[in-house]
Homo-oligomer: 332 residues x 2
């Protein structure tokens, strides 16, 4: 059973509920019953947390908010995984407070599957934290690798560290240190070294590790660039060939490519490093996008991704020891 | 007179010399005379500094290297500006050592004009330093604005700070602090606040300010994504319509779009914050790319970009005072 927060999506609760039905997966909805007449399996939780609220504060101040009630249902075991199309910050805060982090994980990461044609690539972190220490980057590497293995069936995911040159000494001090640790770690993952910006859309790695600031900028740049370029191609085609059959066909093909690059298709972002599976669909998701997010969460549960991730982190010696506990991290 | 280092370009010294001729601008070449029989206006400097050498060390160890000799010719006033298609790091190191920074500038920045169709956008820093303090980001903002005004005729450039949300509190601590300072500075530039990844290819700002790590990753991601997408469009068109006239026309149009997005067209990266104009052409530049880099340097000199930049930094109170001299910065 998947817990689905139906507040906060751009297209409204009905559209999210429709996505739940489309998914074919058993789902409990959390949101405003009044807006879904005739809908069954809804836990009434009309209060929402908006994108404009400070997430941690809002999650504490609104225990009746749908994302909080849904997260608690997952924490208690009533549901197996959490899916939301609302504020990423609120879902992250509610998950850290109620579902909690995996033992020994410094910080959860937001991971997205980049829709690179023919080479789906997991990038993390894309925004859970704006900075990352070396030991966090190392954990991201192992968590991302385990996820791609378990959920996407990549046998030995190639893990790259996003930097500004191939050489191990290129990048910020944190990146250089993370490179050294990953290169020295026993062969638990296939660390291919640094990858640069142009390597990512070329499909050079299955997992791209970076801090949340760089990852967030990178993700939005890729989406924006793809949109600008396909738009320019469309315009070029439309302006010169609108009357020809060839032009029509090309426009259809460009449209299909755009769909392929559509973030809706990949099912949303995944929060890694928590004790349960949490998926965040795009706020602008269509019902099909919501359905994909629900299916992704369901697959992650069935493939036991969390158990595999914990085992991978343990095997790599990448978990935080009690002694090394940092003051800044949230409590276990 | 422009000093042009002809060592280090992927296509060899002859190709660079051809670019110099194409530019129509008076140029002195610095490089291996032996490889350019019959060429006039060449200062013999056969020693090159490669991409694999540690730049600062190599510049100190090889005073006879072409980039060093060329930088000295600019520093002495024999030439007005420096252009190189060799190692960016070596050009930067030679420039900082011999041409020196503008008084009060913390660090030079590498700026590139992003070839966004219809909205050329200056991004800086894209790799001079891997981290940037708030006061450096503030200087980048003023330097970039002055450059776009002087060289590209943008009357009141919109300056955006690259971050992970519009809100002033979004981003790394350095970005948040830089935002506060730019927002509080007198109306010397048109600071439009934070811009996100998707805003950049949409042309939301004329100047995008960021640290060298994020900027380098962003630049290469945009180039790579544009290449992947235009390639996919080409393939889609080719596979279905190769025999039709429409398909041919579309392929030509996609090719033209690709040329528009070609970094060769923009004339290379500019080092801002030095006492003379320094332009670095792509290592893979065609002769036309070199010619564009030379023309860019020439235009920057004629438009007195450095004087305008120094005036803008002074007016904004963004120059480093002697008292605030930081220990880590290079000596003036």
């Amino acid at each position: 059973m998947i817990a689905l927060d139906i507040n906060g999506a751009d297209r409204g609760p009905r559209s999210v509920a429709e996505g739940a039905r489309l998914s074919g997966v058993p789902v409990t909805l959390f949101g405003p019953v009044a807006e879904l007449p005739g809908e069954t399996g809804v836990v009434d939780a009309p209060v929402a947390i908006g994108n404009d609220e400070e997430p941690a504060r809002a999650v504490r101040a609104k225990p009746e908010a749908s994302i909080v009630v849904a997260a608690k249902a997952v924490a208690s075991g009533d549901c197996e995984a959490l899916v939301s199309a609302g504020s990423t910050g609120a879902a992250l805060a509610a998950s850290v407070f109620h579902i909690k982090r995996l033992h020994g994980v410094h910080r959860p990461a937001v991971a997205v599957l980049l829709p690179i044609p023919g080479a789906p690539t997991l990038m993390l972190d894309v925004g859970a934290s704006s900075e990352a220490r070396p030991e966090q980057l190392v954990q991201f590497a192992h968590m991302g690798s385990a996820f791609m293995q378990a959920v996407h069936g990549v046998e030995r995911p190639r893990v790259g560290l996003l930097s500004i040159g191939e050489e191990p000494n290129k990048g910020t001090p944190a990146v250089v240190e993370a490179h050294a640790r990953l290169a020295a770690s026993p062969g638990t993952i296939d660390f291919i070294g640094n990858v640069e910006g142009h390597d990512v859309p070329a499909g050079a790695a299955d997992v791209v590790v970076t801090d949340g600031f760089t990852g967030n900028v990178a993700l939005k740049l890729m989406e924006g660039t793809a949109k600008t370029v396909t738009g320019a191609v469309r315009d070029a085609v439309r302006s010169g060939l609108v009357s020809s059959l060839g032009g029509l066909l090309v426009r259809r093909r460009v449209g299909r490519l755009r769909d392929e690059l559509d973030p809706n298709a990949t099912g949303g972002a995944i929060l890694l490093g928590l004790r349960k599976v949490v998926v965040i669909a795009h706020g602008s998701s269509t019902p099909e996008g919501i359905a994909n997010a629900v299916r992704l969460a369901d697959r992650a549960v069935r493939e036991r991704v969390l158990e595999r991730m914990a085992a991978a982190l343990t095997a790599a010696g990448a978990l935080r020891s009690a002694r090394a506990d940092s003051v800044g991290a949230a409590n276990d």
